[in-house]
């Protein structure tokens, strides 16, 4: 074994003679841990994409262009952050598109039929999202059926409720107060207000995931659920809360959707769940749980929403756009797989040395 670190004086407490130094590999300092390799590829891809597009079409990064990019990414960022919470625990929530749709329609209804203040609408909408997420969480933790199946079921149930409730009704921009719509128009320091909300969400959840014991528990659960149980981590409760938080964030995304887009109705948010999962995976969140970060998921969301605009600006046929998203997903998974295979091989060879 190579020893790359200087042997430390170990004081009087060292038993059995001098220290034996074995295997000290690359050190991950504070900077390295913020920009962990998992988030690196997606960040590079985003930077390259933006630069190339800008060089080809400078209008892409004009003040209005930039604002459009941010607005487009905002809702996907919030959804991807919530989804990352769930995927890190080795689960998945496919019902987020339906939750968003139901909450967006509820928001439209509240503005059209009541005089509730905007802040109350926000709170009620997020509460509704949290309840829908909690139902997912309860089903997953109590029924012990894979989340993929449970949330596939609630995807249809929530969408069905939305259909039954909305019927042909749609609410438009003039049904809601101007102040609410302006959240997606006004900017602070160049950022639209709803984008700032998304950034606050990313920061709060990122700090929680890195700094709270229960946040770290989510990684442990996704890394090895059985071992987590053995360590006394309350696996069921943590997973339940992850689903609840994801529902709450999907609810927030639903309100912001109603602010950002002109109309909400029975089909709002249909199909978004796959884009969200794709954003998280492209952003370096391992689909089998245990690793990745919400920051990475957020960058993944920006990348996926930016690609569409970029390819349009580059005049790439829009039929190609989805295929390119698919290639990105495969690339993310292949990079992950190659890395873990390399680790496994290294381990096997290092053990083989002395046999």
């Amino acid at each position: 074994m190579t020893n790359t670190t200087a042997t430390k004086p170990t004081g009087g407490g060292t038993p059995g003679g001098g220290p034996v130094t074995v295997s000290t590999e690359r050190t991950t300092g504070p900077i390295a841990s913020i920009l962990r390799p998992r988030e690196l590829p997606v960040t590079i891809a985003l930077v390259v994409l933006v630069l190339v597009t800008y060089l080809a079409n400078p209008l892409f990064l004009s003040a209005q262009g930039l604002k459009d990019l941010l607005l487009n990414a905002t809702i996907m960022i919030i959804l991807a952050v919530g989804q990352a919470l769930v995927i890190i625990t080795r689960n998945v929530d496919l019902s987020v598109g339906s939750i968003l749709g139901l909450v967006a329609f509820a928001t439209g209804t509240m503005f059209a039929t009541t005089d509730l203040p905007i802040i109350a609408v926000f709170l009620i909408a997020m509460l509704l999202g949290a309840v829908l997420g909690a139902i997912n969480g309860a089903l997953v933790t109590i029924a012990k059926v894979p989340a993929l199946v449970i949330t596939l079921g609630t995807l249809y149930i929530y969408r069905g409720l939305n259909n039954a409730w909305a019927g042909g009704t749609q609410y438009f921009a003039d049904d809601r107060p101007d102040a609410f719509g302006n959240l997606s128009v006004d900017t602070v320091l160049g950022f639209p207000v709803i984008t700032l909300i998304a950034i606050v969400v990313v920061v709060i959840v990122a700090v929680y995931m890195a700094g709270a014991r229960s946040g770290r528990d989510l990684y442990a659960i996704g890394s090895d659920p059985d071992a987590a149980k053995l360590f006394g981590i309350p696996v069921g409760r943590r997973v339940f809360l992850a689903f609840l938080a994801n529902g709450l964030l999907a609810g927030l995304a639903g309100v912001l959707y109603a602010s950002r887009f002109n109309s909400v109705g029975a089909t709002t948010g249909t199909g978004m769940e796959l884009d969200v999962v794709a954003a998280a995976v492209v952003g370096g969140v391992a689909i089998f749980g245990g690793s990745g970060s919400v920051a990475g998921a957020a960058v993944g969301a920006i990348l996926l929403t930016t690609i569409t605009s970029a390819l349009t600006a580059l005049r790439v046929d829009k039929f190609w756009q989805q295929a390119i998203v698919g290639i990105l997903i495969l690339a993310a998974i292949i990079i992950d797989r190659v890395a873990s295979l390399r680790t496994a091989k290294k381990l096997r060879m290092s053990e083989a040395r002395d046999v």
Partner: protein, 517 residues
């Protein structure tokens, strides 16, 4: 505990100190249905000693460890720590009482850092109530310093060597203030340097007053490291010796010294030409330079301790796993590596160790299972006819006397012995020239065991070459024409039926063949 005594001084078999032992388990018993896993589990570990526990596979060591770890509740017996009676309901109880188990393959969270793996659930916090990575790193460093090792606390656990993972488990145990450390075959996957480091850590902990239970199959390690040795056999406590006052021979005799209760006479058969020929097969880190042959009508046993690489060799021969170098041929023709279908076509069959997971599809019928290997022959235009399937199944299942109400019953309804017969039927239907049977009687009751043995013997009588992997010495000695013994990935002995005795096999299996002579 005082630590001014030099640790190397030999301790008496029954230390003359008045303090109660750090851990004392007397007469512990554990049964699972009709199976007695442990009849008399007895062990006493003093504070400040390293105590070895030795015994054959199935001697009850694992069950005893699981009782100490709080995984099993014993049916009977007295269990006390430092004189206080304890009863654990779960692992958390055992940990809280100061017992930590270091397994051969630790379960770390691969995606978390080393420091977090040590402190998960009790990470130090800063003034804001957030985890203080700095304090955690420092605490981890302090633990590693105390152990005299260096591991980067900030790297993720994925990719760490087994040796480093064990050290991390030990660090965690110390941080939990463990009084008794149980190391369950910790050296099995370690290299020489790593073993030295582990021993240094263990000796250091002994000086600091910890009691250590060291379970190992390697006698040179037991004798180099441990103060006392407890021997178990057939689920019972046999004896405890001071290491200085005993020898490898004496220990081996106590480990195997039983009457071979049931004999498994193999029919005399005409041994023919070599059927299977294996030349210099190697797979890095798994097995090295394996060469042997099996002749028609011959039963060759592959003996050795769990983890010696026996199943891995069999899987490579059959093409389930790849191998790096070497060659396998059947009937003089080379068999394609890494391709089970080619192996089956060439005339091989493989009855795996875990029949529930690998040998049978539990929810399918007896008939469907027995004819799985014949799917293509039975199908007409790609569709399997139920009638032809039943007819084909009937032939072998009746010859093997599978006791089932109907061919249509799901295999999961059968007893273990009858399930094993269905697996055998499945392979016999392919008319193999060479058959691998891996632990053919594991988990099968005594009555059916001899029936399975009779069957295997009959198959050899029909001229099939058989390679039998078995951890049960009586089975090996009773059934085999020749015994190959593996130890840590190599064949350490080839014994004829006459040469094979419990002692010769056990010496070769523990790698102490030279030491004994």
């Amino acid at each position: 505990m005082t630590i001014d005594q030099p640790a190397q001084s030999a301790q008496p078999a029954q230390p003359a100190r008045s303090a109660p032992p750090a851990l004392s388990l007397v007469g512990a018993a554990k049964t699972f249905g009709p199976v007695v896993a442990l009849a008399d589990g007895t062990i006493q570990i003093e504070a400040g000693e390293i105590h070895a526990l030795v015994g054959e596979n199935g001697a009850g060591k694992s069950t005893l460890v699981k009782i100490l770890a709080g995984l099993y509740t014993p049916d009977a017996g007295d269990f006390s720590l430092a004189g206080k009676t304890v009863a654990f309901r779960n692992v958390a109880d055992s940990k809280a009482a100061g017992i930590s188990v270091i397994y051969q393959e630790p379960t770390l969270f691969p995606d978390l850092t080393v420091a977090e793996n040590i402190f998960i659930g009790r990470q130090p916090k800063n003034a804001l109530g957030l985890i203080s990575t700095g304090a955690m790193r420092k605490a981890a460093r302090a633990l590693f310093d105390r152990l005299g090792v260096q591991i980067d606390p900030d790297r993720v656990a994925e990719g760490l060597s087994i040796a480093d993972q064990q050290i991390i488990e030990i660090a965690k145990a110390i941080s939990l203030d463990a009084k008794v450390l149980i190391m369950d075959e910790p050296t099995a996957a370690l290299s020489g340097v790593e073993v030295d480091r582990l021993f240094q850590v263990a000796r250091g902990l002994r000086e600091q007053g910890a009691g250590i239970l060291f379970i190992s199959h390697r006698f040179e390690e037991v004798f180099a490291l441990c103060d006392r040795i407890t021997v178990m056999r057939d689920g019972r406590y046999i004896a405890t010796h001071a290491t200085a006052e005993t020898t490898v021979d004496a220990i081996v005799r106590q480990m195997v010294g039983r009457d071979i209760a049931a004999l498994f006479p193999k029919q005399e058969t005409e041994v023919g030409d070599a059927v299977l020929q294996v030349d210099a097969l190697s797979r890095a880190g798994v097995f090295t330079d394996i060469s042997f042959m099996v002749r028609a009508g011959e039963i060759v046993a592959l003996a050795g301790l769990v983890g010696a690489g026996r199943t891995e060799v069999a899987r490579a021969v059959f093409g389930i796993d790849p191998y790096d170098t070497g060659r396998v041929s059947l009937g003089g023709k080379p068999v394609k590596a890494g391709d089970p279908q080619a192996a089956i076509t060439a005339g091989m069959g493989f009855v795996p160790e875990d029949r529930r997971k690998q040998g049978l599809v539990m929810d399918l019928s007896v008939a469907r299972n027995a004819t799985l290997t014949l799917r293509h022959q039975l199908a007409r235009f790609g569709i399997i006819s139920g009638k032809r399937e039943r007819e084909a199944a009937e032939g072998w299942t009746s010859r093997l006397q599978v006791k089932t109400g109907s061919q249509e019953y799901a295999v999961s309804t059968l007893s273990g012995g009858n399930q094993q017969k269905v697996v055998l039927a499945k392979w016999l239907a392919t008319e193999p020239k060479f058959l691998i049977v891996d632990e053919p009687t594991r988990g099968i009751d005594v009555g059916t065991k001899s029936e399975v043995h009779r069957l295997i013997s009959e198959l050899a009588g029909r001229g099939i070459a058989i390679l039998m992997i078995s951890s049960e010495l009586p089975e090996v000695l009773g059934m085999a024409d020749r015994v190959l013994v593996m130890h840590e990935g190599r064949i350490t002995a080839e014994l004829t039926r006459e040469e094979a005795t419990p002692e010769t096999v056990m010496h070769a299996a523990t790698g102490s063949l030279e030491g004994a002579r």
